[in-house]
């Protein structure tokens, strides 16, 4: 396949940024999207140009490092996948592909397609944990968690922190990300003791990071590579309201 790429290039936080066209020749349908970019980058280096910078690591959809808007969709076409799991068989010869970084005030562009998502870490530090000290804890089977509850907690805990929910949301809201952690620890008995302070602090930090508000468009759920349901947002809202009284 031969493809035309329109790639966002931006030197640093302060640069305005622009689209630059590249031609990708001999693209195999078995390549992953990132492998296609690898090939383009090798050509760029050999021509003496700087390669397109993007975050990536595990390349199997679990580390949450990669993430780009591909033809206007977070992680590109297909559901339930991160960018690294997108394969070129999803495209056809002659296609034009527009590649942009996540766009959100809370995620400043560091370079090209690489953004700063440390706002997510700061939200997690504001209570995304149980205060279990190392040692001094009961046997694993002393805390019973029936399968449906464990499954529900797992569904929320599957979040990879990639930021697609924020990128897909017209308001750049981080509600699905925050809800996933709050919900995981709200349904588990281990998390209940600190549930009030947790939800209050995490929501306050989310607001401080300048994420937008949730207006129930559900774009986050549609683009989440792990298919995390917006019902967790409902649980976050319930937890938050309950914590005010």
């Amino acid at each position: 396949m031969k493809l035309t790429l329109k790639v966002w290039r931006q030197n640093d936080k302060n640069d305005e940024g622009r689209f630059v066209d590249y031609i990708a020749n001999d693209v195999s349908p078995d390549m992953s999207f990132l492998e296609m970019l690898d090939v383009v980058n090798i050509d760029l280096v050999k021509k003496g140009e700087t390669p397109i910078v993007f975050d990536h690591d595990c390349r199997e959809g679990i580390c949450g490092s990669c993430g780009m808007m591909i033809n206007g969709r977070a992680h590109g076409p297909g559901r339930g996948i991160a960018t690294c799991q997108l394969h070129m068989r999803s495209f056809s010869d002659g296609d034009e592909i527009i590649i942009e970084p996540w766009r959100a005030n809370a995620f400043p562009v560091l370079k090209d397609l690489m953004v700063d998502r440390t706002a997510f870490d700061r939200i997690m530090r504001a209570g995304g944990y149980t205060s279990a000290k190392t040692g001094g804890i009961p046997d694993g089977n002393a805390i019973l968690v029936p399968k449906p509850v464990a499954d529900e907690a797992f569904d929320a805990a599957a979040c990879i922190g990639c930021g697609a929910c924020v990128a897909a949301c017209p308001n750049s809201s981080a509600m699905l990300f925050v809800a996933a952690k709050v919900s995981q620890l709200a349904v588990l008995p281990q998390g209940k003791a600190e549930s009030e302070t947790r939800v209050n602090r995490m929501v306050a930090q989310m607001d401080e990071e300048k994420f937008g508000s949730c207006s129930n468009t559900y774009a986050c759920e549609a683009e989440c590579p792990k298919g995390i349901s917006v019902t967790h947002i409902a649980r976050l809202n319930r937890e938050y309201i309950a914590a005010q009284f």
Partner: protein, 647 residues
């Protein structure tokens, strides 16, 4: 070429394994170790490099104890570390399944699985503390698999005949790392741990013979920064990417341990590399990494090849009596659940002999048809859904309809920096944890034991032994403007400038791929003397060309991913040679190290306990081609080394 001179004058290393009976060693050692008064702990500064399971858990635990902890990662967030990708599970001898498990059995299975090349004392301690890991993770809110009554569920794994593996669907590593990450976050929030994101450690700094700090590059602005400490912990993972294609993440690298090695830390058993039997096969030249399919799939999936050589029929058209379920045939008692090294070698052998399947013929089938018939599609989905989806996503084929094609790939490295029982390297004050050290898996790691070791080291072992080190030594204050730091900064800057100045014509990736191919062909799954000697001729040639012909664009003062890669690849190109030297010197087969000259009549690894029952700890001498061998003899008091049998 290997020069045998150095084998003669080697020193013996002291593993510092405490005396007394096996089951009392750790508890009596804990009592004998010195403690730091809670009020004094904040005066000690500890650097932890890496935030995977071992790094996050040790930083969190040391912070919780009250030490002044500084945690470093080249990632933007601790949660991106590659522990996140571990799939299958974590072992602990809780005996919840009532199938005869015990600490001693886990110890025994691990020693045997490692082909009698690990220390008894370390392995017993690992088995002993592993139960607490499960409890710890449950308390953190890790959503392990449960039954309807709420009890923890277990599954079985390769190399064991009991069900002792705890799991969270096929994403156990992710859930355990997020648990450790949450513990770390709690300490960052509390102010006991300071986290430095996007910093890559490029040198270790020694002052008066002790590890007293690191030099790191800020990957955003390129600044070379010095950090002082009273102790340094490396939890930076393994070196599988020396082979270019592996199941490791793209950025996983050996730079931190390699540069520490060049500063005096011995490198132990580098040739013990693990090839994982169930990975998705290579599709073409563009391949950037290999994807693992969890070994847990072998619980219900059946491995087979056609009985007829070069059979081109589709899997569904091959009747059952024309299929060779070769693992079940060769190993009736362990069947598809033989250890990884055995399963990998048999797959290679089938393909080498012309029974391979798929277009490349370099694959065997892993078939779920029987499991779907027996358990139902829904139940198979519940257990393995995300793994089967992942396969479909990558290959475009549906594993519910046709069997998966799998082939072995480099996955884990049992070798690493040498450490004593206290997890301290040959450099005082330098501790090495998790996959970065060599300590517990011998020549082969059993499935679901990497997560166990990373968290055992981080939560339950290193916090004690580091306290003992701090309490037993005096530390004169050290500042970043000391000469030792300036010298290290200059070395680092010099290397960076040299790389940028080459301006050759080949990219870093192309060199890495070429190097990895030689490693895989001659230092991979099957090794022999001639092949290793050939590798030792080819590898230095590629390295020399790299330093003359590599092309890196951009500069050193902002984000430059090519420059980052180049430094890592430059280090792999030295380490790769050490792997080959070690493999050539070890004239026996054991676990993941398979020398074709040394095998039993049935094609199993044939150890030579008389000559090689020792840990090979290599010392950097200034010349990559001439490392010095030091030996730590392995003493087996409890378990009598025998020919492993999984029949």
């Amino acid at each position: 070429m290997l020069n045998n001179e150095h084998l003669k004058k080697s020193m013996t290393l002291n593993s510092k394994i405490p005396g007394g009976p096996l089951e009392k060693k750790w508890s009596s050692h804990k009592f004998n170790m010195k403690l730091v008064n809670p009020a004094n702990r904040r005066k000690y500064k500890i650097i932890v490099v890496g935030t995977g399971l071992a790094g996050s858990s040790v930083a969190a635990t040391l912070g919780e104890l009250g030490y002044n902890v500084h945690s470093f990662s080249f990632h933007e967030s601790p949660r991106r570390a590659h522990s996140i990708a571990a799939q299958g599970g974590i072992n602990a001898p809780k005996n919840y399944s009532n199938d005869g498990d015990s600490v001693y059995r886990l110890f025994y299975d691990t020693i045997k699985g490692g082909d009698y090349r690990a220390r008894e004392g370390n392995v017993y301690r690992l088995a002993e503390v592993s139960g607490s890991i499960i409890d710890q993770c449950v308390a953190q809110g890790v959503p392990f698999a449960r039954d309807y009554a709420g009890y923890l569920d277990n599954r079985s794994f390769g190399g064991a005949q009991v069900a002792r593996t705890f799991y969270a669907r096929g994403q156990t590593g992710q859930q355990l790392l997020l648990g450790a990450y949450s513990a770390l976050n709690r300490q960052i929030d509390a102010g006991t741990v300071k986290f430095y994101e996007r910093r890559e450690m490029l040198d270790l700094v020694l002052v008066e013979g002790k590890a007293r700090g690191i030099v790191a590059r800020n990957l955003i602005n390129g600044k070379i920064e010095s950090y002082t400490a009273d102790a340094v912990v490396l939890a930076t993972g393994g070196y599988g990417n020396a082979f270019f294609l592996s199941t490791n993440a793209k950025a996983s690298n050996a730079t931190a341990i390699w540069r520490a090695h060049k500063k005096g830390a011995f490198f132990a058993n580098p040739c013990y590399t693990q090839i994982h039997p169930t990975c998705i096969p290579v599709t073409g030249e563009h391949q950037s990494k290999l994807t693992l399919m969890s070994e847990s799939l072998r619980n219900d999936g059946r491995v087979w090849v056609p009985k007829k050589k070069g059979d081109t029929r589709a899997a569904k058209d091959i009747p059952d009596n024309e299929r060779d379920y070769y693992l079940e045939r060769l190993y009736p008692s362990f069947g598809n659940l033989v250890p990884r090294d055995v399963a990998s070698r048999r797959a290679k052998e089938m393909c080498d002999n012309g029974y391979g399947v798929g277009q490349s013929k370099m694959a065997v089938y892993l078939d779920f048809a029987d499991a779907i018939k027996r358990l139902g599609r829904e139940s198979v989905f519940q257990k393995y859904g995300n793994l089967l989806d992942m396969y479909k996503q990558i290959t475009g084929e549906d594993p519910y309809q046709a069997p998966m094609r799998i082939y072995p790939a480099v996955h884990y490295t049992m070798g690493g920096l040498w450490v004593d029982y206290n997890l301290m390297s040959t450099i005082p004050g330098l501790f090495v944890l998790g996959e970065a050290n060599f300590s517990d898996h011998g020549a082969n790691r059993l499935g679901a034991s990497a997560l166990m070791q990373g968290l055992a080291d981080g939560y339950f072992i290193a916090p004690y032994t580091i306290s003992d080190y701090l309490a037993s030594n005096k530390f004169a204050p050290v500042k970043e403007d000391r000469q030792e730091f300036k010298e290290a900064e200059n070395t680092v800057t010099g290397t960076i400038n040299k790389l940028l100045g080459i301006d050759g014509k080949k990219s870093v990736d192309e060199f890495h791929r070429e190097y990895g191919k030689v490693m895989w062909d001659y230092v991979g799954m099957g090794r022999n003397k001639a092949g290793l000697q050939k590798a030792l001729k080819l590898l230095p040639e590629i390295r020399e060309r790299f330093w003359k012909e590599v092309k890196i664009t951009g500069n050193a003062h902002d984000i430059n991913t090519e420059l980052e890669k180049a430094q890592r690849v430059a280090d792999f190109m030295e380490l790769g040679e050490l792997i080959a030297i070690d493999a050539l010197h070890r004239e026996e087969s054991c676990g993941g190290h398979f020398r074709e000259e040394y095998q039993t009549e049935e094609g199993e690894a044939k150890r030579n306990d008389k000559r090689f029952a020792y840990v090979a700890a290599w010392e950097f001498t200034g010349k990559t081609a001439k490392p010095k061998l030091n030996k730590e003899p392995l003493n087996f008091e409890e378990v009598h080394p025998s020919q492993r049998s999984y029949k």
